[in-house]
Amino acid sequence: MPITPPVEKWLKDAGYEWHCFISYPRIKTKDGNDDLTHPISQCARGVKEAIIQGLSYSIPNPRVFLDLDDIPPGNAWEPTVRGALCKSLVMVAICAGIYYHPDHEWCGLEWAAMDNLSEKRFPGDKLLTIVPVMVKIEKPLPPTVERPQWVNISGLMTGRRRFRPTDRFNNIIYTQVVSHIEAVAQALRQNEVKTDCAHFSFPNKSAFSDWETAGQLPPFYEKPLEG
């Protein structure tokens, strides 16, 4: 159900500044700059824009936080991200193997923090506030990532060198991510769950700290040679 103007107003009053927070591994070039051409970066931005587009059918100026765009110059990264995460309805995680890797520990901390928020906001409920968007499905996945609402776009990402937000991509985001954000918005309103950012902090432990990747599967076919 789309977010109605009264619900939107309630969300603002309840402290929800962002409809969605995008969590993704920041890829760096050799020079140490953000690699904005990397498919993960492009996809993160594509997801942001598709969500904005999808939400804009029901509300004016949807707000989706992406650190690359939404941290004003000079602002400290950690408090800004912490504030944005706490004031978001939903976190979308752009997942590939590197997302769970210790090199990108912040991804695991964001995940753990949002999971904590989810438990506070919907205690005992199965409605989760994290939507993993799978750019790659490098199995085995961390157990916490294997959840009902995962969104698989790995095929879309494999056909071309550069990410392209096709109609299919937008449809997937509209139907699976935007609708989830809308459901969370309604549930928060219904349960009158407001933000409580004064007591919110990042946990000490990444959500993936106990998980070890099995590494890349061998590139060999299971079937014996035929013909």
């Binding site: 050799k30 990397h38 498919p39 993960i40 492009q42 931005r45 594509g46 942001k48 824009e49 904005i52 587009q53 804009s56 059918y57 004016p60 100026n61 004003p72 590939a96 193997g97 590197i98 790659k136 499905i137 490098e138 199995k139 698989n152 776009i153 790995s154 095929g155 879309l156 990402m157 494999t158 056909g159 071309r160 060198r161 937000p165 096709t166 109609d167 299919r168 449809n171 997937i172 590494g215 890349q216 599967l217 061998p218 590139p219 060999f220 076919y221 299971e222 079937k223 014996p224 040679l225 035929e226 013909g227």
Partner: protein, 814 residues
């Protein structure tokens, strides 16, 4: 064989010395690629040259004996370390054809078979899997194209060749089920592996049907249908495509069976001096072109040789909507719909599709949209009757303005057809224009057709602050540009929706000047280009909440007209909003202040006549004025902001919140200038010689909702004098037309305005003005008065010249 031909084609096409090709024979069980290049590969120095299997066997040996080597190879500079540890030079047969090097499968001696069977690829991968990436990266640095000859089938080597190494996978098959479904399974497994791997490169499948026998027409047709469908279905699934149409691909891509090449190792591209469509070399060339130039097999080209499409066509995109005065016509120059890349849609096509979808979403039903799809425009051609009827039928006309549009007679004819069909009265619905100007590429304002001049338009570009060049918004120019493109589409669709709904309700409201708004009008001042997006952002939100935003038409660039227009708009608003950035902006001719500052000054002036008028000014948090003028302007705003104004430096979101708070306190009733049932009477005084010349003025004022009382000509005695006096006593406003009358006549009429108090008039007139028109003379040029406002109509459209007069009437306090 295909690989050898491809190498020859590549070196022919990319002949620069830096663009080299590498062929690698990974078909270890049936090596033989070198035989196609026997001239070089057969030379004594190459006969015993080692190949792929020798290289990896040696690498394995070195890694086992030098454990520290693995760390070096795992570093960021692993490629260089690999080159230093085990140079490839010894393995390369240089220039098998000029520009292409070859690595054989191995040294084909007595030990070869033993070496191949003993090498454990699975074990090697489990220990040193990342080395394949290092090896690949090193090759990529040294070669533009690396071609891998791999045996098909499910074995360890084909796993390396199809899953680990390539970006494009050519699956060669002959039309039989074992072959077709065999390569499909292999392709699917390879792509699924890539989807689950840490490798972010694409893996794109290019099917290549081979040995197609032209003699068996029926069989060929049946098999074509089967394998095309099988590939379309499989590719659609593995790449999560909405659709996958390989008709065009398989029309072009198929290798005929040519018996000659079944024998020996001839390379068709070298053997056949001339290629045609039926030759093997011709078929190869078509395939190689696609393989090289396109990212995927299903990509289509906008430049397809579709000669049959070179006729005018009207494309209905969606089903007609019932009961509506029909749809929307998009008028554009064909050049503006040419795709920049061959696999993309043109700008207008994308615009068309996006608008259609968004409107359907906003209205809850489809709206018919037409445009003429022409491959070649013939400027002097008459519009076809089918096209004319669509234009006449359209409720909305969207010209896509660009330099090419202005040069197109065809586009000019379309606009004229629409204007003629609707007539002046029919060009608006209430106060909304049926023409929605879309500016794709900037053009000189004055070069636009007169019908479009006054419209603000939807600007689908921005000026790059670093280069000063315009950058168009498009769906395919990066996320930033695409985001802006969609926002503009949204603005346009929203406004069209309003017009369509207004038309449906049949509420033919009077024009904006005479209609009190349900909500207060808001003057959202024009800004410098760096703040255009922020202005759009605010405009979008205010429109969403139902506020009328002014100016709703292009502001004139000549200072007097500009001031008059701004005053008129301000008079209809309760609040003005000014965004001030680091730039000063355009300075109109004959003026020292920028348009931005003039608007701010006039808003201040407005407060002096209407103390309830509010001003909100926003500056970005950290502003650095560019230049002295802007510095002074910013300083003056910060230090002398004046009554009724607030200056905010916070985020744009905070500013928007403040605007909405401010507007929520404004009473709409304050804007109502008069009761709906009471007419405003304008007494229009002119010389009898000017009866014809004043007609457009009368018409314009009447259209604004005023009752026009015309003066009588001279020489009609006492009755005329009485009529004149009564009109001055009872009218709400007076307009004196200074055309053929002399200055004496004019002064006498102005004097009457003073005398009217003595005749018994107790209320002030809402507006008095002198309208100066042709014939021009020195007296008129120098004419000034403090008794009425002076309107310059000498070279100006009455609608523009009369704006201050109308604004004055509409203002409740002046």
């Amino acid at each position: 064989m295909a690989l050898a031909n491809y190498a020859c084609w590549l070196v022919r096409r990319f002949s620069a010395p830096s663009q080299r090709v590498l062929l690698m024979d990974w078909d270890l069980e049936a090596p033989g690629l070198q035989r196609y290049f026997a001239d070089k590969a057969g030379l004594p120095e190459n006969a015993d040259r080692p190949g792929i299997i020798n290289y990896f066997a040696e690498l394995n040996k070195r890694l086992e004996s030098e454990p520290e080597l693995l760390n070096k190879l795992a570093s960021d500079d692993g490629g260089q370390a690999l080159h230093e540890a085990l140079p490839l030079d010894e393995y390369l047969i240089r220039d098998v054809v000029p520009g292409a090097d070859l690595i054989k499968a191995g040294r084909l001696d007595a030990d070869y078979a033993q070496l191949v069977s003993a090498f454990n690829w699975i074990d090697f991968y489990s220990k040193y899997g990342n080395l394949f990436n290092v090896f690949r990266s090193w090759l990529e640095l040294n070669y533009t194209f690396c071609l891998i000859d791999s045996r098909t089938g499910f074995n360890d080597i084909s796993g390396v060749c199809t899953m680990l190494l390539p970006e494009k996978l050519v699956t060669v098959f002959t039309p039989n089920r074992q072959n077709v479904y065999g390569v499909l399974d292999l392709a699917e497994r390879a792509v699924n592996y890539r989807r689950a791997s840490a490798d972010f490169r694409p893996l794109s499948i290019f099917p290549l049907p081979s040995r197609i026998d032209n003699a068996e027409l029926e069989l060929r047709k049946d098999w074509r249908e089967e394998y095309q469908k099988a590939f379309e279905t499989r590719l659609r699934n593995i790449y999560q495509l909405e659709t996958c149409d390989l008709s065009d691909y398989f029309n072009k891509v198929q290798l005929p069976h040519v018996s000659y090449y079944a024998y020996g190792e001839e390379i068709a591209l070298l053997k056949e001096k001339r290629s045609d469509d039926l030759s093997l070399s011709g078929a190869y060339e078509k395939f190689f072109q696609r393989l090289t130039d396109r990212e995927t097999a299903w990509d289509t080209s906008e430049d397809a040789e579709a000669g049959e499409e070179k006729v005018p066509m009207v494309i209905p995109v969606t089903a007609p909507a019932a009961g509506v005065e029909s749809g929307i016509y998009i008028s554009y120059a064909h050049t503006d719909d040419m795709a920049l890349m061959e696999d993309q849609n043109g700008w207008v096509s994308t615009f068309h599709q996006a608008l259609s979808t968004r409107l359907a979403q906003l209205l809850g039903r489809d709206v018919e949209i037409w445009r003429m799809a022409l491959i070649e425009l013939s400027g002097n051609s008459a519009l076809t009757s089918a096209l004319t009827s669509k234009i006449d039928q359209a409720a909305v006309f969207i010209p896509i303005v660009s330099p090419r549009y202005l040069n197109s007679d065809w586009c000019a004819n379309e606009l004229k057809e629409f204007v003629d069909a609707k007539g002046q009265d029919g060009l608006t619905v209430g106060n909304l224009s049926r023409i929605f100007k879309v500016i794709k590429t900037p053009v000189e304002w004055q070069k636009q057709p007169p019908e479009l001049l006054q419209m603000i338009g939807y600007q689908f570009y921005e000026i790059d602050s670093s280069t000063g060049r315009p950058r168009e918004f498009a769906h395919n120019l990066g996320p930033g540009s695409e985001y802006k493109f969609w926002n503009k589409i949204d603005d346009l669709a929203f406004d069209i929706k309003q017009l369509i709904e207004k038309q449906q309700t049949g509420s033919q409201e009077a024009t904006a000047a005479s209609v009190p708004f349900e909500k207060p009008g808001v003057y959202l001042a024009d800004v410098t280009s760096d703040l255009a997006e922020d202005r759009d952002n605010i405009k979008r939100e205010l429109k969403h909440y139902g506020y009328k935003i002014l100016p709703d038409r292009e502001l004139p660039l000549e200072v007097a007209s500009l001031e008059a227009a701004v005053r008129e708009h301000l008079a209809r608003c309760a609040l003005s909003i000014h965004l001030v950035g680091s730039r000063y902006g355009i300075i109109p001719e004959g003026e020292k202040r920028s348009v931005v500052q003039i608007q701010a000054d006039l808003a201040t002036e407005r407060v002096s006549v209407d103390p309830s008028f509010a001003r909100l000014i926003w500056m970005p948090p950290e502003i650095t004025p560019a230049g002295d003028l802007q510095e002074r302007f910013v300083e003056s705003l910060q230090n002398k902001i004046g009554a009724g104004a607030e200056l905010l430096h916070g985020s744009l979101e905070e500013f928007k919140t403040r605007i909405l708070e401010k507007l929520s306190r404004v009473q709409p009733a304050k804007l109502t200038t008069r009761s709906e049932n009471v007419l405003t009477r304008v007494y229009f005084i002119y010389d009898s010689q000017d009866t014809d010349a004043v007609a457009p003025i009368e018409e314009y004022l009447f259209d604004q909702g005023y009752e026009i009382i015309s003066s009588l000509g001279e020489g009609e005695g006492a009755q005329a004098a009485k009529y004149h006096r009564e009109n001055l006593l009872n009218c709400d406003a007076v307009l004196i037309y200074y055309g053929n009358g002399n200055q004496l006549w004019l002064r006498s009429r102005l004097w009457d305005l003073q005398k009217v108090k003595g005749w018994g008039r107790t209320t002030p007139m809402s507006a008095t003005a002198v309208y100066i028109d042709q014939p021009n003379n020195q007296e008129k040029t120098r004419f000034k008065t403090r008794e009425a406002m002076v309107l310059n109509g000498l070279d100006r459209d009455p609608a523009i010249a009369l704006q201050p007069f109308v604004a004055q009437i509409e203002s409740p306090t002046t």
